[in-house]
């Protein structure tokens, strides 16, 4: 006889089984649809936003992240457990689906039975192992949640219901299988194709045939009710993430990474800027809150959270979600709290790691925009002063604008006003222009360019702050004012290529200015110099040294530039001892998000923490390629009391020392 099994064995395939079963299924699906429609109503309170362009690419992104669990797997441990659970559960769902198709359609209507013979054996063993893997992973996750209790992991009644229900479904599944096998399969060759089932069957066998039959029938209905309950409660528990998180992969921001929306300031009908209540956000921002599973990966990586500041990206998302559902007209700034809103460094660690593709940073910026543009509020007077300095002198440091090009005196470079026939425009940035420590970097960069025979020009006093700190602080108006002035100046000279020494300038010119009609190619100095070295145009001698390298947020997570700086360091003979948090997991220096303008008054110092991480590597040199980072580290080594053992430097400084004359 061909290997197969009788579907509906012992429960019957008549109307007495099918009618209640399909009624239950219908009720469950009805609840699912009803529950989700209730939530869709909440999403619709948000403002319009197009997130369905390029549907094929979006679909591919969704399949990758859902089926392959790519984002989930970025964190090992719970990530692997979730992925394996997901795959196992998916197989079980597919298996159950196949049974439904055969029993209630193909077999019923056309006498077609496909779950037989060799395919049935494969079906049987695959599902058996899938069930086992699923139970093991679930138990592992339950041990983690209730016994290991990782810091910050919040467990509520949702979690008890979800884990309990899943475990009950899986266990009853095996019990039903075992009961059936105890009566029909034990002792046959086929039973070996369900090893776990066989084990259960052996256990149940001693109960005696009659008891097992009763047990089986009872469990079958119980299992069915549990499965239908699972479907029904999806919208009402975190189970909804099965739908919302998957959908969020489809609806995710398709880049450029971290680019903010450019506010139309000319539109006279706009009465309010930024977000004060949930209805000021886009529907996607509200949807995001429903995709959150409170996995706390964002919170674990947030530099503000880990230095005892009142910001947790996860909490913000949850607070927004709560308001969206209960009181969309309530004051969201009060709910989240100003200190939380101002604490963000826009380092993107939260958004980058989020397995649900939630966009945290732009939400914070929207709240800041409301505070600044509608209330004139800043985290402190020093920030307001810096804003006024940018307005008056085009730099937040308050230095006279006319002295912006003074650092370049005697270096043999001219301003574009004097000579605009240059290969590249060096957009110097405020810190390299005015800050004594960072002026060295600017000078070194010019030395390197000259060594490579590249004619560089600067804007001098015509250059203004790129506007980045203002923009990230929520001051979109000041940002656009600065941006338009810079764009007009640069366009006027017909420049083809710009190199920046500041990742914040780079990100702003290369991404944000695009919305304002700026098309010039922009490159960060590390990438530019790396290519010169690779091309043999910049002769650098290898001279061994050990260092650690800090990925600035705006080079790394915001622009995916991890290799060029490292290859430069290696070209100079550097051996990099990586910090534990490096690459896309790098820990912020504290200066992003306009925080460079603000005093850090809450919690402990982020820069000190980062410097301490660098000290742990044992390397005496902390290399970076961002003036904000350098400023923070120079301050951080003093704060940590490690001036004697750790020296923060920019990569250009290392290169200049190794320049072959």
């Amino acid at each position: 006889m061909e290997s197969t099994r009788e579907i509906y064995w012992n429960v019957g395939h008549g109307i007495a089984t099918l009618a209640p079963m399909y009624l239950l299924a219908l009720a469950a699906l009805g609840l699912l649809v009803y529950g989700m429609l209730q939530r869709v109503k909440v999403y619709r309170n948000g403002k319009p936003l197009n997130r369905t362009d390029e549907p094929m690419a979006r679909m591919a992104m969704m399949m990758k992240n859902m089926v392959l669990q790519s984002r989930v797997l970025r964190v090992t441990g719970p990530g692997v457990a979730h992925a394996v659970f997901f795959w196992g559960f998916l197989l079980l769902v597919i298996g159950t689906g196949l049974i439904v198709i055969q029993a209630d359609f193909t077999d019923l209507l056309f006498d077609i039975v496909f779950l037989k013979g060799a395919p049935y054996k494969v079906f049987s063993i695959v599902l058996d192992f899938a069930g086992l893997a699923t139970i093991v992973m679930l138990l592992g996750l339950m041990i983690r949640r209730w016994l290991v209790r990782p810091k910050g992991l919040e467990t509520g009644s949702d979690d008890i219901v979800m884990h309990g229900l899943l475990l009950a479904i899986l266990v009853t599944g095996f019990l039903i299988e075992g009961a059936r096998m105890a009566v029909t399969e034990l002792g046959t060759e086929l039973s070996y194709w369900s090893p776990v089932g066989m084990l259960v069957a052996n256990g149940l066998d001693s109960l005696g045939g009659a008891t097992v039959l009763v047990l089986h029938r009872g469990l079958w209905w119980f299992h069915l009710v549990l499965a239908m309950l699972f479907i029904a409660i999806i919208p009402f528990t975190k189970f909804r993430h099965i739908l919302t998180t998957s959908a969020n992969y489809f609806l995710a921001d398709r880049g450029p990474t971290g680019k903010l929306t450019t506010v139309d300031l000319e539109n006279e009908d706009t009465e309010s800027f930024g977000a004060r209540q949930m209805t000021d956000f886009s529907w996607k921002d509200i949807f995001d809150t429903d995709a959150c599973t409170s996995c706390k990966r964002c919170q674990d990586r947030c530099p503000a959270y880990s230095t005892d500041k009142p910001l947790s990206p996860m909490q913000v998302v949850n607070q927004l979600g709560e308001l969206a559902r209960t009181d969309p007209g309530a004051d969201v700034i009060d709910a989240v709290g100003r200190d939380a809103i101002w604490s963000c460094t826009t380092c993107r660690a939260c958004q980058d790691i989020c397995p649900a593709a939630i966009e945290h940073v732009n939400k914070i910026i929207e709240l800041r925009r409301n505070l600044v543009l509608m209330e004139g509020e800043f985290p402190g007077e020093e920030v307001m002063t810096a804003m006024e300095q940018i307005e008056v002198n085009g730099n937040p440091l308050g230095m006279g604008y006319a002295g912006r090009g003074d650092w370049a005196e005697g270096l043999g470079i001219s301003t574009l006003a004097d000579d605009c026939e240059v290969e590249v425009l060096f957009f110097v940035g405020c810190y390299a222009s005015f800050d004594k420590r960072n002026r060295t970097v600017a000078k070194d960069f010019i030395t390197l360019c000259h060594a490579a025979g590249i004619k560089v020009g600067i804007l001098g006093k015509e250059e203004k702050c790129c506007g980045e700190p203002a923009r990230k602080m929520g001051n979109e108006y000041l940002y656009q004012t600065m941006a338009m002035e810079n764009i007009e100046t640069i366009k006027g000279y017909g420049i083809k290529k710009i190199v920046t020494a500041c990742p914040h300038c780079f990100n702003t010119l290369a991404k944000d200015y695009r919305d304002l009609g700026f098309e010039v190619e922009v490159e960060p100095h590390a990438v530019f110099l790396d290519r010169l070295v690779a091309q043999g145009r910049l002769p650098i001698r290898e001279e061994q040294f050990t260092c650690t390298y800090h990925d600035s947020c705006y080079m790394g997570r915001h622009n995916d530039i991890y290799d060029a700086p490292r290859s430069l360091i290696e070209a100079a003979g550097g051996e990099i001892v990586e910090m534990e948090k490096h690459g896309d997991q790098a820990f912020c220096c504290s200066a992003g998000g306009g925080r460079i303008l603000a005093e850090e008054k809450l919690g402990t110092r982020i820069n000190v923490k980062r410097v301490e991480m660098a000290v742990e590597t044992g390397a005496g040199l902390l290399l970076s390629n961002c003036p904000f980072c350098l400023t923070m580290f120079e301050d951080g080594v003093k704060g940590a009391g490690v001036e004697e053992i750790l020296r923060p430097r920019d990569i250009t400084e290392i290169l200049v020392e190794r320049l072959v004359a």
Binding site: L265, L373, G376, E388, N393, G400, K461
Partner: protein, 256 residues
């Protein structure tokens, strides 16, 4: 209530100053311009006064066309209308001439309270407000650091030497000159910046106002002579301390 606030556009003090060719004022090239710091307190207080008791705030500024930029900030902060007295040579006028120009404009307007900065950051004479009050025959209270308005009179605190403060009360009309510490000027909100662009900004040619002769004249302006620079002591704390004591003994009498 009719309120007037007088402001001046001055160079940012971080600018590189050079003496101009005539040798009596600074060169106006390569400077960043902004509202005189003390006038920001005056604008803020005028707007707060309006917010408390209602009224209409006129902001007045004398200078070339470029001062309109600074006036826009005052309008964005909440002033209702602007009066620009166009005079591209106002920086050559003495405080009395400036006060006289403002007085002539203000005389028949019936302002209840006039707010000015206690002095300008560039000329720093500290006279315009006081003379304006005199010319308009109203009370003047200078260098105020606290301000309250109640039922037709203002009660202010003036900063005296040594941290002592005087409380002064005056019935309207009154002129106050504002000092650091009075308030924190607001940062204009975007809707107010947009509204400011549409507010009335009336320009009056200076020559339309009767001119008065100057009572004083700047003879010469010069940058301070370079003195010996500071001395940096470097090295171990012990040796720095020893050298510091030696210097103090040798060059000062503090340890005598």
């Amino acid at each position: 209530m009719k309120l007037l606030v007088c402001i001046k556009q001055v160079p940012d003090m971080e600018s590189k100053f050079r003496i101009d060719a005539d040798g009596v004022w600074y060169d106006r090239g390569d400077l960043a311009w902004r509202m005189n710091e003390y006038d920001e307190y005056a604008v803020e207080q005028a707007v707060r006064q309006k917010e408390q008791a209602g009224g209409d705030v006129t902001v007045l500024c004398i200078g070339s066309d470029q001062v309109k930029e600074t006036m826009k900030k005052a309008l964005a902060m909440g002033c209702d209308r602007g009066v620009h007295i166009a005079d591209s040579h106002s920086y050559m006028k003495d405080p009395y001439q400036i006060a006289a120009m403002i007085a002539e404009f203000a005389r028949d307007k019936g302002f209840d309270i006039i707010f000015t900065g206690m002095q300008s950051q560039d000329r720093g004479s500290g006279q315009v407000g006081v003379m304006l009050a005199e010319l308009l025959d109203m009370a003047a209270i200078t260098t105020i650091v606290d301000y309250t308005y109640d039922n037709g009179s203002v009660v202010v605190q003036r900063e005296l030497e040594g941290g002592v403060k005087a409380k002064v009360k005056a019935a309207l009309p009154v002129l106050v000159t504002c000092q650091l510490g009075l308030n924190t000027p607001r940062y204009p909100t975007l809707p107010n910046i947009m509204k400011a662009k549409k507010k009335e900004l009336l320009t009056i040619e200076a020559k339309m106002l009767q001119s008065t002769d100057s009572m004083q004249k700047t003879v010469k302006m010069a940058l301070p002579e370079k003195r010996v620079g500071g001395l940096f002591l470097e090295g171990e704390p012990d040796s720095i301390a020893d050298r510091l004591i030696a210097i103090l003994k040798e060059k000062t009498s503090v340890l005598a």
